[in-house]
């Protein structure tokens, strides 16, 4: 045996790029995606820091003065601070309300996204690995679920369950788990047929170990992509429900509630009440989607140059 097989001559031993470094470089190649990522980081930071950087807590009725209602952008509130984005009909400072609304919208979107991901992932993996009747039953339920528009399912559920953050998260999970299940099943089916899975079976590893340690890590790339896009969907779906008046209560305004509140004033020229929360929602959903698109491009090896 010659020594050429000994990996002292291993490829590029000098500069070993970690997978994460390569991923980061490829992600930021697109200027649009980089901008969207920065915008998203700023939005999330604003939402997290809202209580410390806003002049008013819109949930605290003691701080909201009805006499400040419907003031245009730049007016001075009774309490003395400037309302750079104006105020809504109840006298809430829009800048504060938007940041607090972002907090709710993003946390509802994330929570429902993560829960739906965990449920859908588990169900999809079981379907792919079990096969046969189990798979047929699970996938027909998924088909049934996906044949209804997500907004319709969520609307019916919220109408039945009532208002509240927990109920809307539940409705969004029910409306969205099927997307994850279908994605995971499709990828897991491909992975299950590969030889490394046969090798793991041959090594006498348990079923759950093969599914969760071997197959699942190889299904993560599409899951991350679907997860990002579905979180954006969840945010806009929650806004839709709130706008229709079946989502979150008036006392805890999310972006959808704020837009709905300003809707009736649009024709009277008080555009700011709806438009500024609308822009915040647009920026949030668009930046999550753009980040998701770029993730898809980077994580899909077939699109690699």
């Amino acid at each position: 045996m010659t020594d050429t097989a000994l990996p002292s001559s291993a490829p590029a031993a000098a500069k070993v790029e970690t997978p994460f470094q390569r991923f980061r470089a490829e992600f930021f190649e697109s200027r649009i995606a980089a901008t969207a990522f920065v915008v998203l980081v700023i939005i999330v930071l604003l939402a997290i820091l809202a209580p410390w950087i806003t002049p008013q807590n819109p949930y605290d009725l003691a701080q909201v003065d009805v006499l400040d209602g419907r003031l245009p952008p730049g007016s001075e509130a009774f309490a003395g601070y400037t309302m750079w984005l104006g105020s809504d009909g109840a006298g809430r400072d829009l800048y504060s309300a938007i940041l607090y609304g972002l907090r709710i919208s993003i946390s509802v979107g994330l929570a429902s996204g993560v829960i739906a991901l965990i449920i859908g992932m588990t169900v999809g993996l079981i379907a792919a690995y079990a096969g046969g009747r189990t798979e047929a039953i699970i996938m027909r339920v998924v088909d049934l679920q996906l044949s209804f528009p997500a907004s319709l399912v969520a609307l019916m559920l919220v109408a039945a369950l009532g208002k509240g953050v927990d109920k809307i998260i539940l409705a969004l999970v029910v409306a969205q788990w099927a997307y994850y299940a279908r994605t995971v099943r499709a990828t897991a089916l491909v992975e299950r047929g590969k030889e490394y899975v046969e090798a793991a079976q041959c090594l006498g590893l348990s079923r759950s170990r093969v599914v969760f340690r071997h197959i699942l890590p190889n299904c993560l790339a599409p899951l991350i992509v679907v997860g990002t896009v579905q979180t954006a969907h969840a945010v806009s779906l929650e806004a839709t429900l709130s706008f229709l008046g079946v989502g979150l209560p008036q006392t805890e305004p999310s972006l959808g509630v704020l837009i709905a509140n300003g809707f009736e004033y649009m024709l009277s020229g008080r555009y700011w009440i709806s438009v500024f929360p609308g822009i915040a929602l647009l920026l949030t959903v668009a930046s999550i989607n753009l980040v998701g698109d770029q993730l898809r491009d980077v994580l899909n090896p077939r699109l690699k140059k």
Binding site: M1, T2, T4, A5, L6, P7, S8, A10, P11, V16, P19, K194, E195, Y196, E198, A199, A200, Q201, C202, L203, G204, L205, S206, R209, R213, H214, P217, N218
Partner: protein, 332 residues
């Protein structure tokens, strides 16, 4: 005489495409939909004795990989038995069964698909011994180093992922993964077919070194006759899911009896016959969905007669360790 290390008895593996609801309705209504069954492996008997290398040769699609996977315990046979040291693996209890599973390991053809891309080399090699308690957690690292050295890999590379290695190195990782559970028997499924010729020789030499060091027994599946001639003690020729001839390597190569074996050997490229034209075996391998009546080889056999088209020949022993399935083996 002791029992062979691994024996398969009347093993068949059928893959059925079951009818779905639409198909069943179509069948009720008289449309020609029916269940399609592929006999990938059809009542095969094989014995592999301890320390031996059995070569399994056949064209693409003849079922040799399926047979290898049945032996390695990846596919359960549809019928028939897999015996390890004389005991039926299917009827073994938990611990014995695990021991038998681990004792038979497989080396795969594709060194890219057979290694988990999300695992580091140390985990690929070290996972199974750790899970099965072959080594303790604290010794696992040294154990992996040791095995990597034995297959000719530098242990300092064990934190890398499989994609950072070349094809030959990946195949060594696959071999190390199998060796880590201390097997007695290796099924090599076209284990060198995907490698460059120069690397092929290295990997074959590695197999032979390991055979001596660990007393390994091999089922060496290949379509490459020259490789099989080089390393096998005995050769079995497979055609459309059945063994058509088996004998010691010298006998197969010097005195083949089955027309299919003869045709295969005649077409194998050899250094002393560089200038001659090759006449490939006429026709295609028949579809295993719809095999011909009688001898499966009859549509392509130059000696086929009426009996061959009507009656399936059985394997008969025609000499010490030499079996052949042909009605006219004496005449050909």
């Amino acid at each position: 005489m002791t029992a062979p290390l691994v024996e398969i008895r009347d093993v068949s593996k059928r893959f059925a495409k079951r009818l779905d609801v639409a198909g069943k309705i179509a069948q009720k209504l008289g449309a020609g939909a029916r269940e399609e069954v592929v006999h990938a492996v059809d009542e095969v008997n094989l014995e592999v004795n301890e320390g031996e290398v059995l070569g399994l040769v056949g064209e693409s699609g003849c079922g040799k990989s399926t047979l290898g996977r049945v032996v390695a315990g990846i596919h359960a046979p549809t019928s028939g038995q897999l015996l390890f040291q004389g005991n039926d693996v299917a009827s073994m209890s938990g611990t014995d069964r695990r021991a038998a599973t681990l004792a038979i390991q497989m080396i795969f053809q594709d060194p890219f698909a057979s290694l988990n891309p999300r695992m580091r080399v140390e985990d690929i090699i070290g996972e199974a011994p750790r899970v099965h308690g072959i080594v303790s957690r604290s010794e696992a690292s040294d154990y992996v180093d040791d095995i990597m050295r034995k297959v000719g890999l530098d242990p300092s590379l064990k934190r890398r992922y499989a994609h950072q290695f070349s094809g030959g190195q990946r195949q060594r990782i696959g071999i190390a993964r199998a060796l880590a559970v201390k097997p007695k028997f290796l099924v090599c499924d076209e284990a060198i077919a995907a490698l460059d010729v120069s690397i092929q020789a290295q990997v074959i030499n590695l197999f032979m070194d390991l055979r001596e060091e660990f007393g390994l027994t091999y089922l060496f599946i290949s379509h490459d006759l020259s490789v099989v001639e080089h390393i096998a003690d005995r050769v079995a020729i497979m055609y459309l899911g059945r063994i058509v001839e088996s004998a010691s390597t010298e006998e197969i190569f010097s005195a083949p009896r089955h027309p299919y074996t003869k045709a295969l050997l005649a077409e194998a490229p050899r250094l002393d016959q560089r200038k001659r034209d090759f006449a490939p075996i006429e026709g295609e391998i028949p579809s295993p969905l719809n095999p011909p009546d009688g001898c499966f080889f009859n549509p392509r056999c130059p000696h086929a007669q009426d009996l061959c088209r009507a009656d399936q020949p059985k394997l008969e022993t025609i000499g010490p360790g030499h079996t052949v399935a042909c009605h006219y083996w004496q005449d050909t």
